[in-house]
Symmetry: C2
Subunit: 331 residues, 2 copies
Amino acid sequence: MSPTRFDVLSIGNAIVDVLARVDDRFLERHQLAKGMMRLIDEETAEELFADMGPATVISGGSAGNTAAGIASFGGRSAYFGKIKQDQMGELFGHDLRAQGVHFESVRAIVGPATARSFILVTPDGERTMNTYLGACVNLTVDDIDSAVVESAKVTYMEGYLWDRPEAKEAFKRAAAVSRKAGRQTSITLSDSFCVERHRDSFLDLIRSGIDIVFANESEIKSLYQTQNFDGAMQAIRKDCPIAVLTRSEAGCVVVRGEEVHAIPAYPVSKVVDVTGAGDLFAAGFLHGLTHGLKLAHCAQLGALAAAEVISHIGARPEVNLRAHAKAVGLL
Amino acid sequence: MSPTRFDVLSIGNAIVDVLARVDDRFLERHQLAKGMMRLIDEETAEELFADMGPATVISGGSAGNTAAGIASFGGRSAYFGKIKQDQMGELFGHDLRAQGVHFESVRAIVGPATARSFILVTPDGERTMNTYLGACVNLTVDDIDSAVVESAKVTYMEGYLWDRPEAKEAFKRAAAVSRKAGRQTSITLSDSFCVERHRDSFLDLIRSGIDIVFANESEIKSLYQTQNFDGAMQAIRKDCPIAVLTRSEAGCVVVRGEEVHAIPAYPVSKVVDVTGAGDLFAAGFLHGLTHGLKLAHCAQLGALAAAEVISHIGARPEVNLRAHAKAVGLL
């Protein structure tokens, strides 16, 4: 097999996060379910923005956060995602490159603006996301640079891509190219509502040969339509080689065939904003996996990265994760 | 005298802050003097941005921060400043209005983009600012809405406006309209380099009838070309009715004729980012003054607001300053 150029290629919706602190009454007023991600149109985006308090803008996007995390661990990281050639797109591109991520996706010149997610952070640190996909609707198979896919040990994709038919096709193309090149494929289920929207299609995809599946407790329960976590775990272990099931402060469970590893969460003195927890968990785990570490060790790196990102506002690491992991003896 | 519609009208360069954490070596590599503000052209802005790490974008601008602070205290706040009709300008306008600030300045349709200041925050919490003025160069006398100036108790302006001849004219017009309406005028000297660039002209302006001058220690020393703080204080008390001299952790001194009040700094558990300290001090002070509070009390409100803003990243308050001041017994 030819040598690899990247450890992990991440593919997802390229989104700039627009964060504001709100109280619970704001969520009630706008009839928003706390902790969820919903898609909104441009009009709703404008209405919500007009009613929100002062904002902080930071690059985000689930797989974008993972790509930044991989690079922060010192991994060779690439990213595919669609931005427009506008100020928010410029910020998004800068932030990935500044982190050391290879990001050369062609920018849209016309059409909708770079995607924004209005992330409403309540005093308990929970985040409620309202995403206007904007330019992301233009991600198509044309954006899948096969040479990059073939040269990445793992191609990791977010379930959110399933919300747009063109992006779903791009996702499938990338998975096919990766498999044909003898590389590994990985997905995250992204969100329990996303799983509800695409349950059968996700199951088909996983059973068709995804190597590593990431899901949190509500997502994996939704996938198998069960209230029982153990039941869902037993089901996913039959459907894919490696499943990484995160359970917030209860830590995570990693299953590979008969192997089961339960890893505790890494302690956090104060949870400020949980945005990006799952994305950074995936970054730590995949960094370990692509460097030949044992599953339990991979999960510890994931837990460390997740703990860092929830201790501050924003879904990208604020410290060098490689140095951080070395300091605590994990690398 | 007719009733007022606003307590404080703030006028300044409308700027979006682009913050990144850097180490001291980054400042050395770019030959930047720590703690200073310098003006940069578009090319330098692009070079610096390309070399900076991942960024956080938050609305800023010295007088913009003050306007936000006044509104957060519950004061009636208005702002004049020039943005372009672009994404960063939209963010800037939203953030002021979301805070409750009256902001109706006409946006530029063509010409340079909304201004950005690249704020490099070193581990000690100091900030080094690199400002690309962009659309601010289009602030002219046409942007001075006399009706708003006449209806504001105090018109407060930043010294930075002096860097552009057109903005300086706008500043002078506003001061003249305010005086003619029997209102008060106030300025901040902004930055010791700014004072060096415009020393004589600042002195002429102050002596021509500015009611309240804000300056930090290095700015007031630079204005009177002395190394002696007391000497500078004696000089300014002859030149203007009220001078508010801030000295970072050493607190501040307020002088009005024979009166001298020394007020300690408000305690801060950890200084994260000093950006906006002076701007928020001015907000607290002016809020007190426009509500008939005694000078020492005004200074205490200033110290409280400054302490809040340096305890986090960004130059706008993250708490409701009115509630905060009430909670600690200052309102």
